[in-house]
Symmetry: C2
Subunit: 562 residues, 2 copies
């Protein structure tokens, strides 16, 4: 790969450099603090969000039918009452197709420049977007601004830079000469052009719509493909704002805004399956549940299909240089956005030997369990801190799940180590909050769940020893999917075994990390997110496989002009 500067745009060049070296980089500000942005921008962003409420969201001036989406703020419990253009699949696919030709015929440079401008303009809407994320996904403001803002834009920029790398990998014309039989050699002038695959459907999930959305949108668009964004019906607004910004950018650059469209469906007439199987769908990008993701993979046929679903992310607690620091790190990450992230840990393995630290301090298994619960309690009891870390619960279904698993524990199937309760949110009673439910079980009970249980529901599995824990954790990742795994140990040999086991299982492993960075932070340009090696999906952010199928080569050859 050629990661050297293109001269096209410093943002692109910095991204390429970071990709080539896997080093830390952000093209956007991760903090929404007024100390950086001043008073005006944050207030204007909030006002812009508030002005959306109860109004039709106009993507353009076309006369369209509007329909109110099923959005309801996890922070206030109030419906957003925003109406979006009603879906019109045939018309939308036709419009996408019509828009494609001039976009695909534009130079790679032009398309990439236009995509860079989109990212910058979305970033300029950072505060409005953060409020949109909070009131649909339920993220806290800091996460909504950084995780769904800068970090998501960085993932988008990363995919854009990869698109550049892949599209410019080969020459577009060549002279070819070969002696065939007697006489003059055959001389051919060969030319290649990049062709888009066609309309791409990008499914965005409810709890983190932009983070996977931007990379898929950028990769598709940069490679010449129109994009139909299919947001989750309960989290439309963030993608609608992004779509509007991208459409305006396209218009301003002289391209047809229908290259970016929004398909807003509802739970009564869901359109996901229709979109996947539509004859005009050429590419599918899916982020969402394992169940529907698997259906998508089985029904995408010969369309390139990039999926991120879910799995069982595990933590093995064997030992640590500093036990308190390790347990702090683990609990903070468990609590982060109430475990509604695809990288959130679900299952914690504690062995009968407990945990030891470097100085010889020892915690028994019971003490480790108690220490975990204690830390969650401490966090939960501080409403302001809990709000900042845990945010809100995106979907009422998650509360139903919490109740279901609580009942199983109360019926004796699990040890109820910690009940889930709402915490006191500083913004008031309207906020849907839930602190982690923690269930204990013995590994040999066979009761460890074999699928992701979405939300703040953690399982502490007691294993006879760390080897048993590793075998079970890695097998579970391989068979049921996992994006991440976490191991705390002081034994380099055990760490090496864990590295092998989770590599085979395709879960990105983080060892012995403590400190400020959430364990599950996946850094653009550096961390490979989703391995393609287990059922959690194949949409690696970002590697060549994430781009390669999105464009193809068309070839022409003719005798060399004399």
């Amino acid at each position: 790969m050629n990661f050297s500067p293109t001269g096209l745009d410093p943002l692109l060049d910095d991204a390429l450099k970071a990709i080539g070296t896997r080093s830390a980089f952000s093209g956007f500000k991760e903090s929404g603090s007024k100390r950086i942005h001043g008073e005006e921008k944050p207030a204007a962003g909030l006002a812009a969000f508030q002005a959306r409420l109860g109004e039709p969201f106009r993507l353009d001036d076309q006369p369209r039918d509007f329909k109110v989406a099923e959005e309801c703020s996890p922070f206030t419990g109030q419906p957003l009452n925003i109406a979006y253009p009603a879906p019109d699949l045939e018309g939308q696919f036709d419009a996408a197709e019509a828009a494609m030709t001039s976009w695909a015929n534009a130079s790679i440079e032009t398309r990439v420049r236009c995509c860079l401008e989109m990212l910058r303009r979305i970033d300029a809407h950072g505060f409005e977007m953060a409020h949109a994320i909070m009131h649909t996904a339920g993220q806290s403001f800091p996460m909504a601004y950084a995780g769904s803002g800068a970090n998501a834009l960085d993932r988008g920029l990363e995919a854009l830079a990869w698109s550049w790398l892949m599209m410019t990998a080969l020459p577009f014309d060549a002279q070819w000469e070969k002696q065939v039989g007697g006489g003059e050699p055959t001389q051919l002038h060969k030319q290649w052009r990049l062709m888009p695959k066609g309309s791409a459907v990008v499914f965005c999930c409810a709890s983190f719509p932009t983070w996977n959305g931007y990379p898929a949108i950028m990769a598709n668009l940069a490679c010449g493909n129109p994009v139909l964004i299919k947001p989750h019906p309960t989290a439309v607004l963030p993608m609608a704002i992004a779509a509007k910004v991208m459409r305006d950018t396209l218009s301003d650059a002289g391209f047809d805004p229908e290259l970016i469209q929004l398909v807003v469906d509802d739970s009564e007439i869901p359109l996901g399956k229709v979109l996947v199987e539509h004859p005009k769908t050429a590419i599918v990008d899916f982020t969402g549940s394992a169940l529907f993701g698997s259906w998508v993979e089985q029904h995408a046929g010969n369309r390139p299909c990039y999926t991120e679903t879910s799995g069982i992310n595990t933590v093995i607690l064997d030992g640590a240089a500093d036990l308190d620091a390790a347990l702090d790190a683990v609990v903070n990450t468990l609590c982060l956005f109430s475990s509604q992230m695809c990288t959130s840990p679900q299952t914690f393995y504690v062995t009968d030997q407990g945990m030891k630290d470097a100085s010889g301090r020892h915690l028994s298994a019971e003490e480790v369990e108690a220490a975990l619960v204690e830390r969650i309690n401490a966090l939960a009891s501080d409403g302001r801190r809990a709000a900042s870390v845990m945010g809100c619960i995106q979907s009422p279904t998650t509360q139903t799940l919490i109740d279901h698993w609580t009942q199983l524990a109360e019926a004796g199937q699990y040890r109820l180590l910690r009940k889930s309760e709402p915490y006191e949110h500083p913004d008031g009673d309207g906020a849907r909050t839930a602190t982690p439910l923690v269930l204990g079980l013995d590994l040999d009970s066979g009761q460890a769940p074999e699928e992701e249980i979405f939300g703040p529901i953690a399982f502490v599995v007691r294993a006879k020893d760390r080897d048993e824990a590793l075998v079970h954790a890695s097998k579970s990742a391989r068979e049921h999917g996992a994006i991440t795994a976490y191991v705390y140990t002081q034994d380099p040999q055990y760490q090496a075994q864990a590295i092998d086991a989770f590599a085979q299982a395709g879960a990105a492993l983080t060892c012995n990390l403590t400190g400020n960075m959430p364990l599950n932070f996946s850094a653009a340009y550096s961390d490979m997110h989703v391995s393609g090696l287990n059922p959690a999906g194949n949409a690696t952010l970002a590697d060549p496989a994430f781009i390669a199928g999105r464009f193809r080569y068309a070839q022409t050859r003719s005798p060399k002009p004399c």
Copy 2:
């Protein structure tokens, strides 16, 4: 991409250089002439082939059940009576899985070196292989030696070089540092390793088994995946020889030969569908019919699936600088291997305006049709030349097809411009030969076939004008698939329109080519074969998309060691 020399092997470095510049290169000798190879090697190759006949083909010393395959020489009409190890899918998948670990753990350099050695050793079996190809696929000796030998090995080497490029695109470890909150920055040591996807099933077709087989095998193996080769039941021997050579190479390098296995089925108990849907199949490479290829694409689920099927390759005859040279080229390519190549032209568009040359010479539509038939007749009447160009007919089914289409013409549905007859093969009456059947029709009759009609069956379609011809030819490619298209014209503007139309349709276009090189020669390292833009498949030889999904990244990160 970094196409610069690796120092690993000059063969690899030459291939990388050719790929980066799209220039002509062959790593192997394309001629099987005794003037190059001497007397001994050709004789030894023939003897080796003959010694295979009527014997069990032993891949190793294991006790196995053997079963005679359905191979029958198109040259002699005699069954080969070679028995191959009977399939044992569960055992074979288990053996593949067991073999994978140490191979995947070997360095990229080791794997690529071993694959290079395989290609060299297969090349050293060139004469034996050529006879095996002749007596299964029915190719003439020159084609069997060059097309199924050197050219196929070059395609394999190209895929191997691409595997190298993709596997070495990114660093395997990095230091990462980021300031997160207050205090010390987070410092992480990150490591990546390449992981294979798992067992790959490679379907090889009957008429040209090695040409698509080698690239798929090399790409899979280089990326760490075991390969189960599924030859067509009537053309097993070439792939059996190749498999034996590759297994021996693996053994000699200290690896488990079960990394390469052969699954020989028969028409009574076909195993293709079982293989595609087998839970242990991780990758599918398919070359074969459009009908089965489409089934494969729909049933591969989330497995990477690379297909080459077939389509309607077209020729538009508008004009030429030298009419005779153009018609010679077109007829030679139509006759080459009796149109049993995926790049063979099927439909010829002649317009009511006929063809004009540079000097003003004009041929009416009728004269163009007559000139085509005349040239076929001339070739067919020269048994020695016909044998060299046309070879034999691989499958009796093709003769049935010829009879069927002849009957349609005799029933008045088409103009019977030329009947198909056997030509007199110098090797005697046992050879299954058939010269091209040529059927004429008017475009507005709506009788142009909408699928590939395999074998020496050509359609001359009379169009009102060249624009109508171009619309029809490109639409047919887009909708029904096509790998190639050919246009002869003296008008640069029309040529530009054709370039656009066939780029949209995803057929590789060759314009105005005359001379010794067959029009449908697809050069390794330079010509992109199969576009992924129409139903003829997505297995582009070779581009990053052909490799990217065959391996994945596993990641580990831990705090930077102090």
